[in-house]
Symmetry: C2
Subunit: 413 residues, 2 copies
């Protein structure tokens, strides 16, 4: 089944690659209109998924992620409209060089080809990722969670109609509609797939990264730190800590560990413990933290390495900036790291030496996000260094090609 | 041993990353001076390698690749000087976005970190790759062929002196000096290595791509095609064919297969057979080629898929452009592909539809090369789509980091 899907998607992608931006944008606008006009169809399917999920015992954050609403659909519509307004990534020349012999070399941006996306419950991903895919001239094979199958089926049907309205081939968007896990595995070994992106929990991501024989971009695991320097504005540091830990603990740009300079630890930790008390945060502290924060539990080695994604917070008092940098170098996942300090030399050293997709100076890590970055949406947040780093938008879905315009040039004759 | 090397290299790399371009350029110039002034040391070591290689039976192209000469050293010196003149890749900002709340997001180019390079006999690679590495603020672990060990040892010693002269840490360039194959394998699994590049024959490349658990960029396999269209200037097509097949058959941008439109096949193949006769080219042809080219041997399926790297040439007569595109889509390795035609529509369709790092219209595939592209050198030619495609210069050795300059911004509070 997947081989056929890939062949169909490849044929469709070739047409998207040479289509003009106006047609691709028209498909996104048609999808935006469909989501606005026919939201009841989408929500009805979503209610079906929710009912079945509840019946099988799904609850809490996982159930929440599955749910769509008029408000969420409106956000997806806004996202599509933002992507429409972005420049065509395929229209950009990346430089031209003319050799002495007259050969003209032009580097151009071209689509990657066919992209696979394995994602978990959130069905909005099917709208965002496909929107970026179509705009950048690619095709996509979507493999969502089985609990969102009804919703994803309706969304993909709307997408295919939208492509048809824009005179583009509907086969550019494919849905693996079987809940069988074997298909996710087969996608990881689907020869000819140009890129596979796993989007979801760390279990899914690690499985894909380790198993796949097709090209993969690792996304989303965020063991993010806040370092509160001795020269920090402590009230600001508390706000940034609370935003990072409490704002939305289930996302990858949430904070997991706070590192505090020993000089300000007594004052800061007392303030922070007080501020986070009503939020129900559990502190996992080193001995010094445990001495200062009431009800803190002793942290073990595992706490430093854990992405809690919950109202748990690891806390460690450090001797100085260097110890903080070493801690981050050892346990950080290369996602987002923050420092609060008023001291220029300290801030500059942190920004220069921390090796991560995003480094924040006096701001919350929660800004690492495709919408905040102006990408309109994101297909994921890359935590690797190759190809793309941080939130991935249109450009991350392209590669380059060098076109050489000659009139008979040879090199050795 | 490798873990220690990596730790040393990482420490050195951190210093290179924050060094200014003037110091990095000074190291390259010091190496260029050392190669000019002390060429006798290098050539003496190389003679040692050559003598031993000959004694163990190495001959032909492999022996040739191992050999350095004053001329070759001069080319390496020129290459280093070109790289010095290129702009600092770390000095480039990639855009700044200020959010409504005043948070300033700046995307900057940063080094990848520590790069591993496994290469075969050519010792010049140790000069070129290390030059690009140092200029781009990275460290490198070199693992060359055992037959070039004396030469590589001297070259790395000169590099380390050059780094010292520029007040940069010599540990940024490391050489795996043991001929034991276990070290190459260990490099493929060296946790913390930021990128591993295999440079050599397809056996080496396939082993690294399939085995490595560290990030890899696939390089160098070039099953390159020339399509001679019915509207081709046939004399030009013969020159381009001869340049691609005979100029330097042992390299990845050499031609392996010629596809000829049926209408011009009798005339073109007769001309081409005549032109390539004195060069000793063996034709592996489809039935139609065999009918037209004296002494052609029948091609089998394997011939279409083979990168000969020798004076062998596969040849097939095709019905039209579409059949040529299908052939290239099926057997091409995504390296370099060429068309000769006077017809605009045909050329445009070839350029748009062929999916390869480089596509040539009326020019030889032999131009896919870091020097020709103005990169000064290359660490390899990527045949994959992610991260880098085609000749890899300074930019391919960088990634990005987003630095956010705030004054207390939070997202959800």
């Amino acid at each position: 089944m997947l081989e056929e899907m890939l062949a169909e998607a490849k044929r469709a992608q070739k047409l998207l690659a040479v289509s003009d931006a106006a047609h691709r944008n028209r498909a996104l606008l048609a999808m935006a209109t469909a989501l606005s006009d026919r939201y009841e169809e989408v929500l009805a399917a979503n209610r079906g998924d929710l009912a079945q999920a509840e019946a099988t015992g799904l609850q809490g954050a996982r159930l929440k992620r599955l749910e769509l609403s008029e408000g969420k659909l409106q956000q997806l519509v806004d996202g599509l409209q933002t992507v429409v307004r972005l420049p065509d990534p395929l229209g950009m020349g990346l430089g031209l060089r003319q050799l002495n012999n007259g050969l003209r070399l032009e580097q151009v941006r071209v689509p990657l080809g066919v992209i696979g996306l394995i994602f978990e419950s959130r069905p909005g991903v099917a709208v965002e990722a496909a929107g970026l895919t179509v705009k950048s001239g690619n095709a996509i094979i979507l493999r969502g969670g089985h609990e969102a199958l009804r919703t994803n089926t309706v969304l993909v049907a709307l997408w295919r109609e939208a492509l048809g309205e824009a005179s583009l081939p509907p086969a550019a968007i494919q849905l693996v509609a079987s809940p069988d896990r074997e298909y996710a595995r087969a996608l990881m070994h689907l020869d000819g797939l140009d890129l596979l992106i796993p989007r979801g929990g760390s279990g899914l991501i690690q499985t894909v990264v380790q198993e796949a024989s097709v090209p993969v971009i690792e996304t989303g695991v965020g063991n993010c730190h806040l370092y509160v320097d001795r020269h920090a504005d402590l009230a600001m540091a508390v706000r940034i800590l609370r935003d990072g830990k409490v704002g939305n603990p289930a996302v990858c740009n949430a904070l997991e560990t706070v590192l505090v300079h020993q000089r300000v630890a007594p004052e800061f930790l007392t303030m922070a413990a007080e501020a986070l008390k009503a939020d129900g945060v559990t502190w996992h502290g080193d001995p010094e933290t445990c001495r200062l924060v009431p009800d803190a539990v002793a942290a073990s080695e595992a706490d430093w390495a854990t992405e809690y994604l919950s109202l748990d917070l690891a806390s460690r008092v450090v001797e100085d900036l260097e110890e903080a940098l070493q801690h981050i170098g050892r346990y950080g996942s290369g996602h987002s790291e923050a420092i609060v300090t008023r001291d220029y030399e300290t801030g500059r050293r942190f920004v220069d030496w921390v090796d991560a997709a995003a480094v924040y100076w006096n701001a919350s890590t929660r800004f690492t996000d495709g919408f905040q970055y102006g990408l309109g949406a994101e297909v994921g947040i890359s935590t690797q260094k190759l190809h793309a780093r941080g939130p991935m938008g249109l450009e991350a879905l392209t590669t380059t090609k060098t076109v050489a315009w000659g009139n008979g040039q040879t090199r050795d004759l």
